[in-house]
Each structure stands twice: as C-alpha cells, then as structure tokens.
C-alpha cells in the first residue's frame, strides 16, 4: 500500500477549520490507547484528564493561570512563524523577561510605590525583547540561522537565572535556599476575580491576542507579514524589507514572552527561583500551530494545552500516572496537527494494487 498526494486546485476552506479538531480527536484516541497500554481504564483516565478539570472552579482558575503565558507567547510566535522567522527560544526570552522585571522588587526592595508593578511589566517586556534582539541581529546582519541561536540562548538564560538566585540575588533570610526575597505586596500582579488564583496575566494574554488578530487582519503590517512569509521576493517587489520584518517579529515575540515571564513570576510564584517555567516557551510552539497561527485560534489552543497541564496533574494524583504523560500528549498533538494540515492543501489517496502501478510504469 502506498499513499499518494494530489494537490487540490485551491486549499480547502472547510478542512482548514476542521483540521485542528481532527487533530484533537486523533490525540484523544491515541491517548486512550496509551492509557490502555499502561493498564489504566482509558475512559476513566481520559475523563480525568480532559473533562474533570473543567468541572470545578479551582481547576478552571489553574487553566487560566497556565493558559496566560501560553497564549501570550504563542500569539507572538505566530507573527514570527507567519513571516518565516523561526524563533524557538521563547523559553529564554520568558526567563530574561522575568529576570529584568524582577530587578525592581529584588534590587530596589526598599522602594514602595504604585509605580512598582507597571515598571516591572515594562522591564519584563524590554528584557524579553532585548534577548530576542540577539538572534534578530544575528539573522538580519550576520546571516546566522535564528533557529539554532535562539535555542542556544535558552540554555544560557537558564544558567544565568540559576547563577542569580544562588549567587548575588539569593535572599538573605531563605536559609540558603536558592530563591530571591519574596516580592512585596505592590509587586504582585493582582487576581482578576475573587474566586481564585487567575491573575491579570490572563487579561494581558487575551488583549494581546485580540490586538495581534486585528493587526494581522486589518493593517498593512499584517499584510506585509503574510507576503514576506510566503515569498520574500514578492515582498521585496512590494517594497517590504525582510530585514525590518526580522527585527519586528522577533522583538514583538520577545516582548510578549518577556511579559509572560514577569507575569508568571509576579502573579504566580512571587519570587525568582531556579526553575520558573514547565517549558511554556516550547509548549507555546504547539499552541501556535494548533491555533493555525491565528491569534484567536491561539486563545482556544492555549486553553486546551493549559488543560493538558492541569489534567496531567489531576490523573497523576487520582490514577497514579506519571505527569510525564502530559509531555507525550503535547508532542503527539503537534504531530497530529501537522499531519492534518496536509489535508488542507492535498487530497490523500491510498494506492493498494502493485499491479496497477507496474503497468502504469510500463506505459511510459
């Protein structure tokens, strides 16, 4: 049996809407098979993973907490990927944003003012953007591949954070634990509603996604992004500069990742510590693709991947399944998303007979 692709005359509009849902369905089925293989009741496990977290208010807040960084980063990455700039170092920009934003509450901890929080958020965005400026500069002016440089910078950011919280920024009263001092109250991002932990970071995420959606759909910049992404040559004829686009998309996605980083540290953790992210910067890549690089789709995709984190924690407690299963789910999901996207451009035909093929070959 062979698989042959036949190009559609034009991309299928129906399938471009359906393909993410098809991918979700396939992931759930694969997940059920996986649970059955490790000897758990697949129905109970899938219910615990995907449905139960939606039924109580505490988990819903957790989903919002985890969706916020995923949507913020994912929306920024969609601009990068649409314009063919492969920033895969958002995890590093997240960390650097968190560090830059924490300068205010850690270094100037004696300063109390309502300006603290806004300054932290601005510093966070600047920190993330500056860190993304490194691969942007290298790509725009030194012709260096941004995939590898942005990824290498993730490891460097992680080590830098580790050094900070074990060295110069370690809290004097944390009994040698590698953490900074707890942020003061005015440095904490407020909660959105009284019923739980979800903080303003979620509001930032929704606003950013809607803003980017508007930009992509209704502004010249949005048009420039898609033209340069589809054909650099065509963009050049239209007078668009791909070098400026590298800077624009990388700085934008870096700033959003930095905002996500400082929001996480200020709203969820309340101090700096060696590990501040369960891989949000990488999971956001999946979010961007599951949302079909459309900021509104990315809101939905971010909520779904947040659910996989919360669901993973839930089944770890109730069914004694390792939380590693979350990473497996996320990886599988991206595979199914990418495979299903093929259906938009191509018709897939299964060719069963070898005979037909060989006689066809003879006719040539």
């Amino acid at each position: 049996m062979r698989i042959e692709l036949e190009k559609r005359p034009r991309p299928s509009a129906l399938l471009s809407i359906l393909s993410p849902f098809l991918a979700l369905g396939l992931t759930v089925i694969a997940g059920g098979i996986m649970f059955a293989l490790i000897g758990k009741n697949p129905v109970a496990a899938l219910y615990g993973f995907f449905v139960e977290p939606l039924t109580d208010i505490w988990s819903l807040h957790e989903i919002a907490v985890k969706a916020a960084p995923l949507i913020l980063i994912g929306a920024g990455l969609s601009v990068c990927y649409r314009s063919n700039n492969w920033n895969i170092g958002a995890e590093g920009q997240f960390i650097m944003g968190a560090i830059a934003g924490s300068i205010v509450p850690v270094v100037f901890h004696g300063w109390h003012s309502p300006l603290v929080l806004p300054l932290m958020l601005i510093f966070g965005m600047i920190g993330g953007a500056l860190y993304a400026a490194i691969p942007a500069f290298l790509k725009a002016h030194m012709n260096t591949n941004e995939i590898l440089t942005s990824l290498m910078l993730v490891y460097i950011a992680q080590l830098f954070l580790d050094w900070l919280v074990r060295g110069p920024w370690r809290s004097p009263d944390a009994y040698n634990f590698p953490v900074t001092r707890d942020f003061a109250r005015e440095a904490i991002l407020p909660e959105m509603i009284a019923s739980g932990r979800a903080n303003l970071g979620f509001a930032f995420a929704i606003l950013a996604a809607i803003g980017l959606w508007f930009m992509m759909r209704y502004t010249l910049k949005g048009f420039e992004i898609s033209v340069l992404g589809q054909s650099e040559r065509a963009g050049r004829f239209a007078g668009f500069s791909s070098r400026r686009m590298i800077w624009f998309s990388m700085l934008l996605s870096g700033a959003l990742a930095g905002l996500a980083g400082i929001s996480e540290v200020s709203g969820v953790i309340g101090k700096l510590q060696p590990i501040i992210s369960p891989g949000y910067g990488f999971t956001a890549i999946i979010v961007a693709f599951l949302g079909r690089l459309n900021p509104i789709g990315i809101i939905a995709a971010g909520l779904f991947l947040a659910l996989t984190y919360v669901g993973g924690e839930a089944v770890q407690l109730t069914l004694n399944v390792s939380d590693k299963i979350t990473r497996v789910f996320q990886g599988l999901l991206l595979f199914f998303v990418l495979s299903c996207d093929t259906l938009i451009q191509y018709r897939i035909r299964l060719v069963f007979s070898r005979l037909g093929r060989s006689s066809e070959g003879g006719a040539h």
Binding site: I3, L138, T149, L159, V328, G331, L338
Partner: protein
C-alpha cells in the same frame, strides 16, 4: 596515566556523541532533508539503550536498541515530512518535544539506578603504544564506530555511485527525479540513517558518558550536533574536528573546577552553548560561502507530479 592523557580521554568521551549525531544529520541534510529532531532521537536512543541494558544485562543489546530506536523514531518524521509533506522545521521540533516526553516515560522506572558501563575493547599490540595506545586503542565500541563512520561516510558520499545520487537529490530533487532516481525512497533511508546515528549517540550518553538515566540527559547536545553540521560545511572530516573542539569546550568546566579557577560553575556550563553561537556567527557571516556549501534543496518539500 598522565594528566594530559586523562584530560584527552574525557574530551574524546564528550566529543563522540556529538560527532556521531552530527554525521547522521550530515547525511540526512546532504539528501536535502532538515531534521531538527536530533535532540529527540538522541534522548530516545539514550532511554531505550539504558532500558534494554537493564532488561538483558548486556550493554551491547543496549547499543542495538539505541540504534534501532532512533531509526524507528525518525520514521515518524520521515512519514510526516516526506509522505505528507509537512513543514520540516515544525515536524523536527515536534519530534524533539515528543522524544523528551516519551523518553521520560520510558526512563522513569530507572531513575537513580546505577547502569552498566560499556567496557573498552583493547586492541592487541596497538594498545601498547605509549600515549596513543590508551587514548585510541583502549576505547569502547562506540568510539571505534564513530571513527569508522567518518571514514565510511566520506567514502560513501564522495566516492560511491549511491552517494553521488544522494547528493544530487539534495542539490536538486526535481532534476534527480527526472533522471529516474528515487527521491522519496532515498530520503527515507537518509532520515533513518540520521535517526540511527542519533540513537547510537544517545546510547553513548547512557552507557559510556554517564552510565545512568537522567531525564533530559542529552542537555542540548542534539542541537549542538545540528550546529556542527553547519560549522563543518557538510563535510565528514570537519565534523570530526569540530566535534572534538566542542568536546574540549564542554569538559573545560570540570577541569576548571578541579584547578580551582574562581569562575561560577554556571558560566562554565554555558560555554558550549555560547561557543555554538559564536561559531555559527563566524561560519555564516559570509553569505556566499554558506550558499555554496548548503545543499540547495535543503528543507524544501518534494511532491512528484504524476
């Protein structure tokens, strides 16, 4: 054994997985396929090699499991990018994310267990040569394989008919197809070869470098291997040289600590990643040189017309 010998031995051990993974990716890229999933295939190889060694008691079974596991895992990438013409960059990332997840799952029962180390094979007579003997002829199987791979791949690519076809596909898949060369079939084989090499590199990590299972133990080596291919401008012997350079950089932290140099350990740990960035800048700022060396069809999907 002298101090210099001891240092060189650690350099060789650190360089071998980089060289092997990089050689595999080199062949894949020479066929025009960019597989960014090296990190994922490597960590799968490490987990499977460790698990198989624990199950059978033989690290040689572990080596085979690492190779087979890497090759099978890469088939997933091959199916998506070659049959379904999915985006190669995104699919490679997916392979890495999935590999990190699945390997964590496979390795979980083995966390904290002490592993079985792959023992050196002493080559008679040659091993008695002063200085060089202990360095090069009292090594484990995987080191010998890494050298054999360098020689074998340079012969294959530049002196064999099949290698010429493979390079033709990488440089212009449409013309190669018109000449009757099987583009997709060759690319599948090249992807699987890359996967097998990454798996073998992973096996080296969990059977030789640090014989135990630690989650994410590949620690970015797969990505460094990718950078090495660019650094080596797609030539096997330069991969060997580059791999030893990076091996030396990555073990410098251990020796700096031993000598009591007062630099924070995190800065020294960051050196290999920093070195990768610097090397990429040096190699790529000359646009023309990069263009000449890069396989012209690299990363571009191929759909034969019927």
């Amino acid at each position: 054994m002298g101090m210099i010998e001891a240092i060189l031995l650690t350099v060789i051990t650190a360089a071998t997985p980089l060289v092997i993974a990089s050689l595999g990716e080199l062949v894949t890229e020479r066929a025009g396929v960019l597989n960014l999933g090296v990190e994922g295939m490597m960590i799968m190889g490490a987990a499977l090699a460790f698990a198989a060694t624990q199950a059978t008691g033989s690290p040689y079974v572990g080596v085979l499991a690492g190779i087979a596991g890497g090759a099978l895992f890469s088939l997933l990438f091959g199916f998506l990018t070659l049959t379904l013409v999915a985006n190669q960059v995104a699919t490679g990332l997916a392979l890495t994310i999935l590999g990190l997840g699945v390997s964590g799952q496979i390795g979980e029962p083995f966390v904290g267990m002490s592993g079985i180390k792959l023992q050196p094979i002493v080559i008679p007579l040659l091993a008695d040569i002063p200085f060089l003997g202990p360095l090069l002829f009292r090594q484990d199987l995987i080191f010998y394989l890494s050298i054999a791979l360098v020689i074998g791949i340079s012969w294959f690519l530049f002196s064999s008919r099949a290698g010429l076809k493979l390079r033709a596909i990488g440089d212009n898949h449409a013309s190669a197809h018109a000449l009757g060369i099987h583009v997709i079939r060759t690319r599948y084989l090249a992807v699987m070869f890359g996967g097998a090499c990454a798996g073998l590199a992973g096996a080296q990590l969990s059977l030789v470098y640090t014989p135990q299972w630690v989650e994410n133990m590949s620690a970015g080596r797969g990505w460094i291997a990718l950078a090495l291919v660019v650094f080596a401008s797609w030539r096997p012997w330069r991969v060997l040289a580059g791999g030893y350079l990076f091996g030396a950089v990555s073990i410098s932290q251990l020796h700096a600590q031993a000598f009591g140099i007062g630099i924070p350990s995190q800065f020294l740990s960051a050196l290999p990643y920093l070195a990768t960035v610097v090397v990429l800048i040096l190699i790529s700022h000359n646009r023309r040189v990069t263009l000449i060396n890069t396989p012209a069809s690299l990363g571009k999907p191929f759909v034969p017309d019927r």
